[in-house]
Subunit: 485 residues, 2 copies
Amino acid sequence: MNNHLDSLFNPENIAVVGASNNPLKAGYVIVQNLINIGYPKKIFPINIKEDHICGIKSYRSLYDIEDKVEMVVLIMPAGAIFDVMKDIENRMKSKNDIKVIVCASADFAETKTPEGIKRQNHLIEISKKYGIRIVGPNCIGVIDNVNRVDTTFVETLLPKESRGKKGGISFISQSGAVAASLLMSGASQPAPISFNKFVSIGNMADIDFIDLLKYFENDEDTKVIGLYLEGYSDGRRLINTIAEITVKKPVVVLKVGRSEKGASAASSHTGSLAGSDVVYDSAFKQYGVIRVDTLQELMDTMQAFDSLKLPDDGNVFVLSQAGGPGIYCTDAVSNQNNLEMPIIEDITKEKLKEIAPAMSSICKPEGYADITAAANVRHHVESLKVIINDSNVSSVLFITVVPTFLPQDKLAEKMIDLLENEGYRNKKSVFISIMSGNYVWECRKSIEEKGIYTFASPDQAVKALANMVRYSKYLKRIKGGSANE
Amino acid sequence: MNNHLDSLFNPENIAVVGASNNPLKAGYVIVQNLINIGYPKKIFPINIKEDHICGIKSYRSLYDIEDKVEMVVLIMPAGAIFDVMKDIENRMKSKNDIKVIVCASADFAETKTPEGIKRQNHLIEISKKYGIRIVGPNCIGVIDNVNRVDTTFVETLLPKESRGKKGGISFISQSGAVAASLLMSGASQPAPISFNKFVSIGNMADIDFIDLLKYFENDEDTKVIGLYLEGYSDGRRLINTIAEITVKKPVVVLKVGRSEKGASAASSHTGSLAGSDVVYDSAFKQYGVIRVDTLQELMDTMQAFDSLKLPDDGNVFVLSQAGGPGIYCTDAVSNQNNLEMPIIEDITKEKLKEIAPAMSSICKPEGYADITAAANVRHHVESLKVIINDSNVSSVLFITVVPTFLPQDKLAEKMIDLLENEGYRNKKSVFISIMSGNYVWECRKSIEEKGIYTFASPDQAVKALANMVRYSKYLKRIKGGSANE
């Protein structure tokens, strides 16, 4: 069935049923997003009244399109599904070209009404008859940044130059709103996030977690898989599928319904039984699945996996230009049971003392240096360099609170020189916190545009680091054949 | 001594020793910040070479200024302290006008060198002789937004229209970098934060936590006090001072040095012994001090106290326009042991069913409603209104993930109508999460400009709410004379 998922992420032409010229309609945003991302093949808007949608020739029905159509996006009112499926049926009889439907329309089985269920059953029945796979209904759509496909109706204000960039994160969301929220917040980072593939799966009438996970497992462009999960009918199968993947690549999960109230709300929402959270939780631990608690931790952790070297172990050095934030970070490190601030080599200590400003506090405590606000760009970068070269250090938490007299553009340039051009990012993973707010935005943006993620705050960096170390230890455990984490 | 602190926050004219025309120098930023905030009295830059600094007439020495000078800001190299104190001494002998020194220069006792200690001792000795109070040395300065004083050398990119706005939060930071970071991130919010008073206390050579806390205790403009704390020589006295304040107004503390490593780093940094964190922690609990874990929680909690009604108790209703984020929020609520999602009145349930879109999920589970992505502005606002009117509800977590077809400007307008114009914000506290990123920025900004804080994410809102409920319960406990929280 993988050829159908190929069609989902790289379709030969896309028809949009319910396309609109009204900017407040989802049917407008979908066409506009396809244009904005630079979808290189043909878009066929379907609208019973208009001749053009967003400047593109529009069609009265699917049946009128002469070219091949591999993907059909549905965003018309759900009540029209019977007519639309008739068009599809007629088209399949003659052309037999449609491989996948992305049904973004809502008001199907999720309503739990007889009408909604009937509509969904009809959608499935006709699709099955002709071997068409379905995403949705009641989803916000599908994105593939490599192939420049964006069928979502989410307006993110993503800058044009960021659209269609290739990233290593592929994401599956069981909630359209969580999906939309991640796209919007991801678009608002210093360097906007480019997902590799992004799927809002809605009601999972057909294509579901398992199909997509298996596809992402073998997708070379996917470095890390993210999931937002409410519940799945066959939890055991889901876990088994994930367990096969985590041997190869990390899977980061935000699973809700931890609490009784949350599980009850999830059951009202998704309809499917959430299943015992405790069972999921212990299975996640057993199979090296990284479970996160917040949307922020989800974003940070996925991007860390995508852009930073996996640490060998939990030996992390805290290098701070600022006392307060350094101490704050040290507390956060101590709060993670898989992180350790190591004793570095004497030679490294000596070098640090030579490099850093006179009043620096070196290795008090061990594994920590405060190079003070007197640190210039060279002090920052040279200190980082000798620490990376220390054999007792596996990763570095690097913190700076940029004062007026520290030239940010130079700092970004020299950090990029060290990490990217001299290749130090391949030696150790560096978790960079450049603080704070708009004042340091351009500095962070320059670094992030080189594919090196930066964190808004040291506590966020520590959580992402601890998650990566958790995965690193899991890999060692399964490869070493040991039963203990 | 309070008259000297009045001089700190509302000085009659300010001299800046070490003022500069070089934008990369702190002595430039201080003068520029005073100009930018619109300091209404006179600024006297002191520079031995220049005739004008930032367009303002400059003086060769403090002694040359004819007008009254109540505050002197020092930002020259520390080595010049002996000459500067000679000038101050001469001035005091003839004019006797200086009340307070803000010593922003570093390289004093914090260096732990004999020279640094000598410099600090000299600064203290001469100041004491003439009854001058000192903030610092080694601090980033002082802000009073009511009186339009900003002696900091932090460039925040705060928009001009936000400077000099009056807020209710007064903050004391033992770390200049944490202070700078809070100012920078606060300036980067939808509606930039305006602190009431903001003090970076540096080495605490003279004015310290106790002085400022007592001043803020009686400052009517201060609604909530925030502290960043590393350690204090007389912890018992600090706690007793805070305990007297929390009876009247909330105190929110980010105290670092929780861990052994963190405490060791704090001791290297501040010099003072941190004291046992466990002792602080239990004293905080005993006296209703709100201890937070992260910089984000600190900002959120202070702003919630400043802008939202204190909830009567932990009965919170979760009103979400989006299933996923609603469930996510419900999990976060369940994770707080002082929050409860109440059973609302039958009449409220009926009204909600009438108001909300057909497919809404009302009170499954109790205390929760998902009004779905079909909710228009009226659905949002009317639902919120009937929930606020329910007598079993003390606060509301309000979540919306704005789709393209929901007009954000209207949503902001109607939310403001309800909460501000119709006075519903005085009935119950509403914790608003409008998601996500740049796409909803203007909507959040409109609401925040009315003094109603909005949260970037529901989990952040829940933490701030739980902290407010903690304080509310403390007030009830001490006023009711009960020994149990």
